[in-house]
């Protein structure tokens, strides 16, 4: 089973949301990391066939998903970002409705729906109207509907938004248990969501994959660029102003332990430490503004990031940058 994203682009007017993205995905969990506006959602919509690409194509086992149509959608599970529900439906109604849409027989649908509602911790709320659900409950219901048809391709766009830490852990475990022999694409800008379960990380910026590879390989790209130093509070503030600081905590002696992501030693006495995926994320998106990543990239930076992709490519598990 293989999902091929082939030079996929999507343009909205003059704005290029996704720019000639290519990848070959085989069963495994793919963590799609990127700041808001990086093009993750647009890419996922095209992968799910709900948004037509401006150019390029998505192939499932070598066949264009537009040609496959219903046959592809029957093997797809999708949790869109921030999607709506029917407030007058109960959770079970909603699951049964989605089951009917996915072509699951009524008897099997009911058993599977109740089972999945149990898995996502909504057994007691199965007959409650969605109107009364909290944001987290709705998100869990969304996850349950996405896996209702036991899909081969599971696309989850910001699935942990609105979940509390306990629910996030439960969600990660659920995805890990479901991921067997499936292609799972998990989009998020919360690094910890994918750090433990992703087999491969795809880092997206300004509509393009700028890094792609196994988490360790990707993370190793910032080896020697993550520093930790013990400084006083004033110096800690100064470091935060000058560098990308991934963590600050104050020790009992009043000294700040500052974790800095920087190309060179930020302050004398700082020692290089083992990087994490979060460090990598902060390094890559250190200049991305709050309002979105798209449009911040200069041509020079793009070229530099593409160079980084090329360096990582050989270490990637199943991905390929063309």
């Amino acid at each position: 089973m293989e999902l091929t994203i082939d030079r996929l682009s999507r343009q909205f007017g003059s704005h290029i949301a996704v720019d000639r993205v290519s990848a070959r995905l085989t069963p495994g969990v793919y963590g799609l990391l990127g700041a808001n506006g990086a093009g993750k959602t647009t890419l996922m919509r095209m992968v799910c066939g709900v948004l037509r690409p401006t150019s390029g194509e998505v192939l499932f086992d070598g066949v264009d998903i537009r040609r496959l149509g219903e046959a592809y959608r029957a093997r797809l599970g999708y949790l869109p970002q921030d999607f709506g529900y029917y407030p007058d439906f109960t959770a079970l109604d909603f699951m049964m409705y989605m089951a009917a849409l996915k072509g699951i027989g009524r008897r099997q649908a009911k058993a599977a729906s109740l089972d999945l509602l149990g898995v996502v911790g909504l057994s007691d709320a199965a007959r409650m109207k969605i109107r009364a659900f909290s944001g987290g409950m709705k998100q869990r219901l969304g996850i349950a509907q996405a896996v209702l048809n036991d899909p081969d391709v599971l696309v989850l766009d910001e699935p942990t938004a609105g979940l509390d830490p306990k629910e996030r852990v439960r969600f990660r475990n659920l995805i890990a248990s479901l991921a067997q022999d499936k292609i799972v694409i998990l989009s998020t800008h919360i690094v910890s969501d994918v750090e433990y379960i992703a087999d491969e990380i795809l880092v997206m910026r300004a509509g393009a994959f700028i890094m792609q590879g196994a988490p360790d390989a990707v993370t190793s790209q910032v080896a020697g660029k993550v520093w930790e130093c013990h400084v006083d509070a004033r110096t800690a503030d100064a470091l935060a102003a000058r560098f990308t600081v991934s963590n600050v905590h104050y020790a009992a002696d009043g000294q700040a332990v500052v974790r800095v992501v920087a190309d060179a030693q930020p302050v004398s006495g700082a020692r290089a430490v083992e990087p994490t995926l979060e460090d990598l994320y902060l390094y890559v998106f250190r200049d991305a503004s709050d309002r979105g990543d798209a449009g911040n990239r200069s041509g020079r930076e793009t070229a530099a990031h593409r160079g980084l992709v090329n360096r990582i490519r050989s270490t990637g598990r199943g991905g390929e940058e063309r």
Partner: protein
């Protein structure tokens, strides 16, 4: 598929706006129909004003007193007696020159109450219609009648009908030869002799059938979010990515929409017909529509006329349902969908034609105009399409049928091609 249809119906029926709007509109028609019964008024021959069920009973008795076939002999007898009664106490020359108000005043002074009841009986008003000028009392017209005219009631009806065609709708529309031939042929097919009697319930339905446009409004409120609601509520992505999201779902939405439209329309029509037939009586179903007005050029019974009017209202409802779905599939704003369709239903009935025959023909296709009994049965509203002539009824069947049939595929294609952006 069945499950999808049921769920789509549930989505339509459970939406709060649907429940509130359709409930209010249903309550409104119940109120209007109740008022219609309670507000029925009539004046007895003893000048007593009756209202509600008493008035209905009085009118029923008055009409039944003259029930039966209107043979030429009977018409001669009845009109001669009426003219004789008129002239027994009033002068023909005097009546010919005075206004209707003056004639009425003279009549009330000259005649006893039971004679006045005869002179103002609507049966005679009906018989004298071919000769009555606008603003003329029945007894004024009767006083001027010759024996020869009285003996040729049906010829006079034909003459009046031809005169009305010659009038070309007050000069606003020039009937073509094919239109004239169409209407003349229609009118000549009406069976003679007419039959007179009471058909109050059926007549009331014809008078109230235009209120079915409120049912169309309810349908539009309910169907406006069928597609646009999915876009607005951001459920479109998950629907369109599902196996049947671009196939069976769209069919289920359309089927559920038409089931709802039919059910709501049926409920609304049941209220109008039910109240009218229970309150005013169901008798007279087989009377010809000419029992209302002698000049109606349709060979129909009262029940058939009601069936046609309700049928046209139904096809209009389906047309507006299709139009609502088509617009809904193209826009994210449910309110915009409703506003467009509601304007077509309501506002088009309020636009003046300003004496333009073409504009009048367009405006009369709107439910508020087309479903009134006069244009539907009595106005000779025709639409010449080359050699083919359609009357208003035919034009409504064709127009709304085409709208329904054309809009559904549009909605289906539009939703299937929808891009979640």
């Amino acid at each position: 598929m069945f499950d999808l249809i049921v769920f789509e119906l549930k989505k339509i029926v459970c939406r709060r706006t649907t429940v509130v709007a359709c409930g209010v509109l249903l309550a409104l028609i119940c109120f209007i129909m109740a008022l219609n019964v309670l507000q029925t008024k009539t004046v007895t021959n003893s000048d007593e004003i009756l209202s509600g069920f008493d008035a209905i009973a009085y009118n029923r008795d008055a009409a039944n007193a003259h029930a039966g076939e209107l043979t030429a002999e009977r018409i001669v007898d009845d009109l001669t007696a009426y003219r004789d009664l008129t002239l027994s106490k009033m002068d023909v020359q005097e009546l010919a020159t005075m206004s209707d108000a003056a004639a009425y005043s003279l009549m009330t002074q000259a005649f006893a109450p039971e004679e006045r009841a005869v002179l103002t009986d609507s049966y005679y008003s009906y018989l004298l219609a071919p000769w009555r000028a606008p603003g003329q009392e029945s007894y004024q017209a009767a006083a001027l009648l010759t024996d020869e005219q009285i003996a040729n009631f049906y010829s006079e009806v034909d003459r009046w009908f031809q005169d009305s065609l010659d009038d070309n709708m007050g000069g606003s529309w020039r009937y073509s030869d094919s239109e004239r031939a169409f209407w003349t042929d229609m009118q000549q097919r009406v069976g003679e002799p007419y039959e007179y009697g009471y058909a109050g319930g059926w007549e009331d339905i014809l008078n109230c059938v235009a209120f079915l446009m409120f049912a169309m409004l309810g349908v539009c409120v309910a169907l406006a979010p069928v597609f646009s609601g999915e876009y607005q509520e951001r459920t479109d992505a998950v629907l369109l990515a599902s196996r049947h999201g671009r196939g069976r779902l769209v069919v289920a939405k359309v089927v559920a929409s038409f089931i709802f439209s039919t059910a709501y329309f049926a409920l609304y029509a049941a209220v109008i017909c039910g109240v009218a037939l229970v309150a005013f009586g169901a008798e007279g179903a087989s009377l010809p529509v000419q029992a209302m007005t002698a000049f109606i050029p349709y060979d129909l019974t009262m029940a058939q006329a009601v069936g046609i009017a309700v049928g046209i209202a139904y096809v209009m409802t389906l047309g507006f349902a299709g139009l609502t779905l088509a617009i809904s599939s193209r826009t994210k704003s449910t309110l915009a969908v409703f506003a467009i369709v509601a304007a077509l239903i309501l506002v088009s009935g309020m636009v003046p034609s300003a004496g333009s025959g073409i504009l009048m023909r367009i405006l009369y296709l709107a439910p508020a105009n087309a479903l009134a009994p006069q244009p539907l049965l009595d106005m000779c509203m025709s639409y010449p399409l080359g050699p083919v002539v359609l009357d208003l009824q035919g034009a409504c069947w064709v127009l709304y049928g085409v709208i329904a049939l054309a809009c559904v595929p549009l909605a289906v294609i539009s939703f299937r091609r929808h891009q979640v952006a």
